[in-house]
Amino acid sequence: MKRVKLLSLVLAVIAVMSLCTGFTAARDAEDTRVPEGGFKIACSTGMGGNTWVAQYNEDFTQHCEEYKEMGLVSDYQIVNTNADLTEQINQCTALINSGIDCLILWPASTSGVQPIIELAKANDVLVIINNDPAAFEGTYCVCGNTTKFSEILTRWLATELDGKGNIVRIEGMAGNNSNELRVPVEDEVLAEYPDIVTLASGNGNYSQTVAQEVMTTYLSTYGDKIDGVLAQDVMGDGILKAYKNAGVTPTLMTGDYLKSYLKAWKETPGLRSCSVTYDAYIGCTALDVAINLLQGKTFKDEVLQANPADPSLINSIVVDPAYVVTLEGDQDAPWMEGLTSKAITLDEALELLEDKDDTAALDGGLSTEEVNALFE
């Protein structure tokens, strides 16, 4: 048996060694990477399996096809992983190894993707960090303005409460980068309203089901003491279901931008809510930036902003939410101050989503022309 194992191991070593040789010369010959018909683009997302990611993938695919028709992209590929860093590193290693020009990377771990960045740099692959901000020298970051997202929702709720009342909070996922950027902003805004009391705060893990469980617990514990609900995105439907199951009519809550939620809001008389988009189109914005950079263009002065994950690194394009949905759609409301976002009414939001499935998200972002205008 020992001999057999030894023999197998020797065979394995020989196989591996044979893999190590013979390829380098062939690759060197074609290593100039002059694009024929366009650039090779890859996108790796750090999360999968929810409607937001599905929309991100659809938007990105469609945008790549448009660039393909224009002859700027010859090939593209998207890979998903569900917060599995090991899988993402394996995926990205294979992508970089296949000779891509640009990697749009939504990091599964904002600190753990260093090996990918180093490998990409060694292979002259442009890296655009996307969606979840992460700070790495030699990369660019294109992400949504997640702190503004939180600030709008919290300020809207505080204004609706006239600065006093009891709220419950349903946050995202502990340790998630966006969540950790949003929660301090909520705390900061709420600190301006000392008469708003947080009865309880829990994590909904960006899951309708978990959010429903948490809200059910809140309703059974605090009942009619709850004046309002402050929740992050993609959990609004679950919260509404908890209210429905408890036989209580919701009156004030922050919602989300999925069509299913917007429809449910419309069908709930007396409910005042606010939805701020966290745009899945951000992947397309990253692609627009990548195409410009790959063509050798440079950013205009003052365009790049501080990285949200490390303000000392100036390498980011931070995009405001595309839409803020309220019943009135008031562009001059206090929470809209200093934003490029568009305030729209609930009816307008539903009109924008008229032909879409219930799982579709209200979505927007910088147009290609707007991105092109950021470059010299």
């Binding site: 380098t24 860093l85 290693t93 753990g112």
Partner: protein
Amino acid sequence: MRRPLSYYLRKLLKWSALPAFLLMAASFLIVKYLITGTNINASYITSFLNTNTAVICMSIGVTAVILTGGIDISLGALVSLCNVVAVQLMMHGVHYLPALIIVLLMAVAAGAVNGAVVSYLHVPPLLTTFATQTVFAGLALTVMRVPGGRIAGECTSFYYGKLFGFLPPTILFILVPVVIWKIYRRSPEGTRLYAVGCDEGKAFLSGINVERCRMFAYCFAGFCAGMGAIAYTFYVSAGDPDLGNSLDMRAISAAVIGGVSLSGGYGDVAGGIFGCLFFGMLTNMIVSFKVNVFTQNLLEALILLAGVLMAIAVRNRSMSLKGGLKREGQ
């Protein structure tokens, strides 16, 4: 005396790690010969090993636990905890050597807690490790709420360097648990561990100290998770409280693909190692096939299912060759 070829063939067919080895070899060959544009060279293999060392270490550890008839789903969270503790210690000025020793001791202690609860309080392993998984994950978040930090430069330099001028240092992190396991496996205690997994009652009646065998398995699993965490920390050079979250199932699946019986008493760590390498190559294959993003998971799951079925079929065949229920450890 020279044995006939059929003898070695039978031995090979009985090798519990054979399915995983074949899967790994097949996936390497597919990536090399069927997928164009994949540049497999020494640097690729080093990078591949670097990425998968943590899960390989975990798989070695979880194999030991499964062999006793148990399971440990807390190892991923333990990897996260070790990672953030190591980074925080170094960030607070602790020299990397004592920091790493503290992390390893902590990992073994965490394994000992699992082992003690399972062995002496007789709480089912799944329930125990589910509870400790939550505890470890919570502790990791307490130690470091947001991903970040840096480790000592020496650690990164070591990990990305070469041993004796050609060996990737990551091999060390795999070799240490393998050597410990091999020494233990060859001792009478190793045989007893397999006996506990085969039939706990009979093992007890035979005078085997069942609790001690289980304690070793869980402590060893903790140690392996600690080694994996150190390797991963060196690799990514930073801390993340969610770093190991997804690794549990990958390590357990790799062990099963590697021919380890979930009911205990059959299998070896080599299978888990090959299983992990197969997992890594599978990801590369899926990427290289340029499958549509919406069908990647489906295809990966189907290939995995085929792998598991193959592993089980070969294991059953191997066990029947060994004669009924006679297990490797007996």
